[in-house]
């Protein structure tokens, strides 16, 4: 027999669609594709709410992708944080595919949010909100290993969610890595399949910050910020910030007009920064001097 293109498309679709018969979920439609799985919107028929279900993309009963997906679910289930999507259920579908059910995230992708946030302070504050769940995960012994713009979503109330923990690893596991990750956002030691620690995520966040600053309209970058990104994305991990909190602290200092650790400023630069930081006071002093000076000159 010879299948027509239309039939072929339908069959492909049928094979990829998860089989939810016998589960408490009813399929609503596809949402998109994550790291190793496809994500679908479903309705929980018991609790009458919409959820997202992530399913192993290639539907077969080989152990490693299924175990990887379930491992991702377990990581998320044990980390409870406003910046992490809560997991509600996990297991195997009737067709043998591994799945997990999580909160349905409503919001926009990071690059869409950045198109609206055009000033540097706005983008930096958003970046700090991305750092929070990552720092939390590190404090609980988990590194993400795949931080990048497409894994960050911004909710309708400005809340930030870090998604796709499919490559997450325990900080305790000292075994060699597997070079998984995204080029451009992956730390060199991770790309070389060497052992990784929290500084791999520092690199990822640095690369993410760099990407966030490039989205048009790109705000101008002060030297201190260039230095922060450079330090976070240093090839040698000993030259990076020791952890996410240190990176976030330096970004906060930049936002507050204070001196940042990553950048050694010259006297002129320092003066400029102080003037900018205290511009109202400086402006008032200037107004006073101008007024006094004008009166003195007029008297003459």
């Amino acid at each position: 027999m010879r299948l027509k293109d239309a039939a072929l498309d339908r069959l492909r679709d049928a094979v990829r669609t998860p089989d939810l018969s016998g589960t408490r979920y009813r399929l609503v439609g596809p949402i998109g594709r994550g790291g190793m799985g496809a994500v679908f919107e479903v309705e929980d028929e018991v609790l009458k709410r919409r959820l997202a279900v992530k399913v192993v993309e290639v539907p077969f009963d080989g152990e490693s992708p299924a175990e990887a997906l379930l491992s991702e679910a377990r990581v998320l289930a044990r980390l409870e944080h406003p910046g992490l999507v809560p997991v509600h259920d996990a297991g195997r579908l009737p067709d043998g595919r591994a799945f997990y059910a999580m909160k349905l995230v409503q919001g926009e992708r990071l690059d869409a949010a950045l198109a609206r946030l055009t000033t540097l302070p706005e983008r930096l504050r958003l970046f700090l909100r991305v750092c929070e769940p990552v720092a939390f995960a590190h404090a609980n012994g988990v590194i993400h290993r795949d931080l990048k713009p497409s894994n960050v979503m911004v909710g309708p109330f400005g809340e930030v969610l870090v998604l796709d923990w499919g490559l997450a690893r325990s900080l305790e596991a000292r075994e060699l890595g597997d070079a998984s990750g995204t080029p451009g956002f992956m730390a060199p030691e991770q790309a070389a399949a060497g052992p990784v620690d929290a500084r791999a995520d520092v690199y990822g966040l640095g690369a993410l910050l760099d990407a966030m600053l490039r989205v048009a309209p790109a705000p101008p970058r002060p030297k201190a910020l260039v230095a922060i990104v450079a330090r976070a994305t240093a090839a040698e991990r000993d030259e990076r910030y020791p952890d996410v909190l240190a990176l976030a602290a330096d970004v906060t200092r930049l936002l507050d007009g204070e001196r940042v650790e990553a950048h050694a400023e010259g006297p002129l630069e320092r003066a400029g920064r102080l003037v900018r930081r205290h511009r109202v006071a400086v402006g008032l002093v200037a107004a006073y001097l101008l007024t006094r000076g004008l009166f003195i000159l007029l008297r003459r």
Partner: protein
Amino acid sequence: MTRFPDTRGSLVAAVKSGDGEARARALETLAEAYWKPVYTYVRLKAGREHDEAADLTQEFFARLVEKEWLERFDPSKARLRTYLRVLVDGLVANEWKARNRLKRGGGISVLSLDFETVRREVEERSGEGELSPEDFFEKEWVRSVFSMAVERFDERCTADGHALRFALFSAYDLEGDAAVERPRYEDLARRFETSAVDVTNQLAAARRDFRRILLDLLRELTVSDAEFRAEARALLGVEPPA
């Protein structure tokens, strides 16, 4: 006529094995999966006319058996699909003429190669130019594998007494063009004199069975887990993980 292999082992392993019957069956299955892609590729890449392409296709499979090309296949270097395509390139480059066709037995016994249907499609498509010959090869391979899976599913349903299941599957997923809306479950229920609930259950079971058959077939056509996963993504039109 396809037959179900007794084991789910790789076809390549079966071809390399000493078991004559298993070898013959494996070669038949391989040929069934690959003859259309090979024909299409020869027509589009080498620009051969229909008769010469048809002859070259027959020639290719004869040589596959005679020269034992599969013995030299190393799965760590490439996918089977790529390896076979490269062999086709080699065959075409060496300008084997139709009259050099060797008639040997012991390999493919009966290959009902319906060249005419494929010919028409190739001739229609070759004007479009959006796909390269290599892409056509892949597309035809996908089509062949799915077609084989459908045939096996049909045979399985008949053997197990689930004729209604295949009939519903065919009516819902195989019939009609993209422009035509799919039949509603209620209409199918009326047409096949059953209930809508039964239609729902049968279709769910049909998809589950078809999926399993399709992937079992793919397992036979691949050698390693990594190749299987990569080919599954190509088969299902899935992008690899970013």
